[in-house]
């Protein structure tokens, strides 16, 4: 279960939950860059993802693992696309990593926590 520390003011209580409860994802590679497409599990989660899954947060999440982060919005697909530069230790055939093609970087992003309204956190974790 994710950490569910309370955050924010008491008036609109918020909790931290892992992205796995709000999104699914797939990743791939281009050279030494991994991409992660983060897709809202329900259309109504997309605005929350767009607001909270910022470049700064993703950079902090992958600290020491990637060199730089770019973000693109695809509201039509309720998805965000992240480019994680320098994520693959050289990439392609050069990389010695198990995940040289960044196939499961997607799941590593789903570990990230974002603050959401407490009621939503309760609902999605029950589901």
């Amino acid at each position: 279960m994710p950490d569910s520390r309370r955050v924010g003011a008491a008036r609109s209580p918020r909790r931290l939950i892992q992205l796995r409860y709000l999104a699914h994802a797939r990743s791939g590679d281009k050279g030494d860059t991994a991409n992660v497409g983060l897709i809202a599990l329900k259309p109504e989660f997309y605005p929350l993802l767009a607001k909270e899954v910022t470049v700064a947060r993703v950079r902090r999440h992958f600290k020491g693992m990637v060199r730089g982060v770019e973000r693109f919005e695809l509201p039509n697909l309720q998805a965000l696309n992240f480019l994680l530069h320098g994520a693959l230790d050289g990439g392609g055939t050069i990389s010695l990593k198990t995940d040289a093609q960044g196939k499961v970087y997607s799941t590593a992003l789903l570990r990230m926590e974002i603050p959401v309204p407490a009621a939503l956190a309760r609902r999605v974790r029950r589901a």
């Binding site: 699914h24 797939r26 050279g31 509201p75 995940d99 799941t107 570990r111």
Partner: protein, 458 residues
């Protein structure tokens, strides 16, 4: 020109994909085209290596027996095939398929088309001398830095030569480095008579091609959302595009097959290997993925519409492979109790021995499978009672001897290192040659006059 729906089915998503898929696509229901994508970034260099040993090789060899299995179905049902299985030797590949057709008595009924001219290896020095630096798109370095080590160089061709081959009556079109998406765009432009500068149609066909180019990855394979509820993956239905002349299309699969075609399955494939979604560049045009509209239109049917595009650029991408060095990966498994601690101790011993031997490596990478191999530090500390941990150490060097010696340093750890170790039955790790990828751009006017399309005699 066709006013009806055209069905393009995916048969292979990469060289090594499920061999039953193309057979089931041609027999499992009505389709008009079977597209089979074989070429990944470094595939061309593997094929080039095979060709340098034997000039009759250099293509996806398993494509030929596969075609032999389905040629009678293709003849009977009039299904056409587009495939880049030709690799660096599309002529040899096309001739081998013709031989199969002759054996089956089908050579006159199934004309084989051949697209070549993407291979610029023989012209590389001439192009460099003309001032084309062929700089690495990622690093900006000029190709002259690694010229002596170049193994293959191919321009990515678009749909145009496939359209030409189909117009000349080819039923099976075999190409070299044509883009994955071109294999789908070609049939659509041929059937619908779309203008090559109708950029929205180019974009629509590009998105259709992108959705099916990785095979079952669009129809339930590798699908994360609700993965437990994806049924029947022992017989996955590979994706099929049912395209309409207006540029919209349905993604579906044959009835009675496993997997699922849903907005989620298509979306996951759309974002796969995505860069800037506004600007998905192919030789044929630019597609804007932020304009794609998806809608569930029935069970295992997703409607795709609204796609907008922009004009193609003056440049073509070139895929160059060059020799980089050597690598090897060794593994051992350590068991409870203290599995992770033992594995770490073994890694320290191994590294000290490599250092004492004076071996030079560009990199030594240690991963602990079960602890940090896929998520690194994000996974946190392991359960202290973890039943086992695999130590996985990789090395890379320009010196083959150093890598070779490394491969002999793994097994000795079993009797000379930390205890409770197993999992070495596979023998010494293999020394692998590292062939690296060098993406570049070139003016399309240097390439297009050299592209050749022919239909082989029966």
């Amino acid at each position: 020109m066709t006013a009806r729906t055209v069905r393009v089915a995916a048969g292979q998503g990469f060289w090594g994909d499920w061999l039953e898929a193309p057979v089931r696509q041609v027999r499992g229901g009505p389709i008009d085209y079977l597209m089979m994508d074989y070429l990944a970034e470094v595939t061309m260099s593997i094929m080039q290596k095979q060709k340098s040993r034997d000039p009759r090789l250099g293509y996806a060899r398993d494509f030929v027996p596969l075609m032999e299995r389905i040629l009678p179905d293709l003849a009977e049902r009039g299904i056409k095939v587009t495939s880049n299985a030709g690799g660096v030797n599309p002529r040899a590949c096309a001739e081998a398929v013709r031989e199969s057709a002759r054996k089956l008595g089908l050579a006159s009924r199934v004309p084989i088309g051949l697209v070549s001219g993407d291979d610029i290896l023989p012209r590389l020095d001439e192009l460099l001398a003309k001032g084309h630096a062929l700089r690495d798109l990622d690093t900006g370095r000029p190709l002259s830095d690694v010229r002596a080590r170049v193994l293959s160089a191919n321009a990515y061709l678009g749909m145009a030569p496939i359209v030409t081959a189909l117009q000349r009556g080819a039923q099976v079109v075999i190409t070299g480095r044509v883009t994955d998406t071109g294999l789908t765009l070609g049939p659509l432009f041929h059937e619908f008579g779309w203008a090559a500068d109708d950029w929205d149609k180019v974009a629509a066909g590009t998105v259709a091609g992108h959705i099916i180019e990785c095979g079952a990855q669009a129809s339930g394979g590798n699908l994360l959302k609700g993965w437990r509820s994806v049924k029947g993956l022992e017989n996955p239905g590979f994706p099929i595009v049912e395209a309409d002349p207006d540029g919209s299309f349905i993604v579906t699969k044959h009835p009675g097959t496993g997997g699922v075609v849903s907005v989620a399955s298509v979306t996951e494939q759309l974002v796969y290997e995505m860069g800037d979604p506004h600007t998905y560049i192919t030789p044929d045009g630019i597609a804007d993925f932020t304009t794609i509209r998806l809608q569930q239109a029935g069970k295992d049917r997703v409607r795709v519409s609204g796609i907008r595009g922009r004009a193609r650029t003056d440049m073509l991408k070139v895929s160059i492979a060059y020799f980089y060095g050597y690598k090897a990966v060794g593994t051992l498994v350590y068991s409870w109790p203290d599995a992770y601690e033992k594995a770490r101790a073994a890694d320290r011993v191994l590294r000290a021995r490599l250092r004492d031997l004076g071996l030079e490596f560009e990199q030594i990478l240690t991963e602990f499978v079960g602890v940090d191999a896929t998520h690194g530090p994000l996974a946190g500390p392991p359960n202290p009672d973890i039943p086992e941990v695999q130590l996985r150490v990789g090395v890379r060097s320009e010196h083959k001897a150093a890598v070779e010696r490394f491969t002999r340093e793994i097994a000795p750890l079993v009797l000379t290192g930390p205890p409770s170790v197993t999992g070495f039955a596979g023998g010494r790790p293999e020394v692998q040659e590292v062939v690296a990828y060098w993406p570049a751009l070139i003016d399309r006017r240097e390439i297009e006059p050299f592209v050749s399309v022919e239909v082989l005699d029966a």
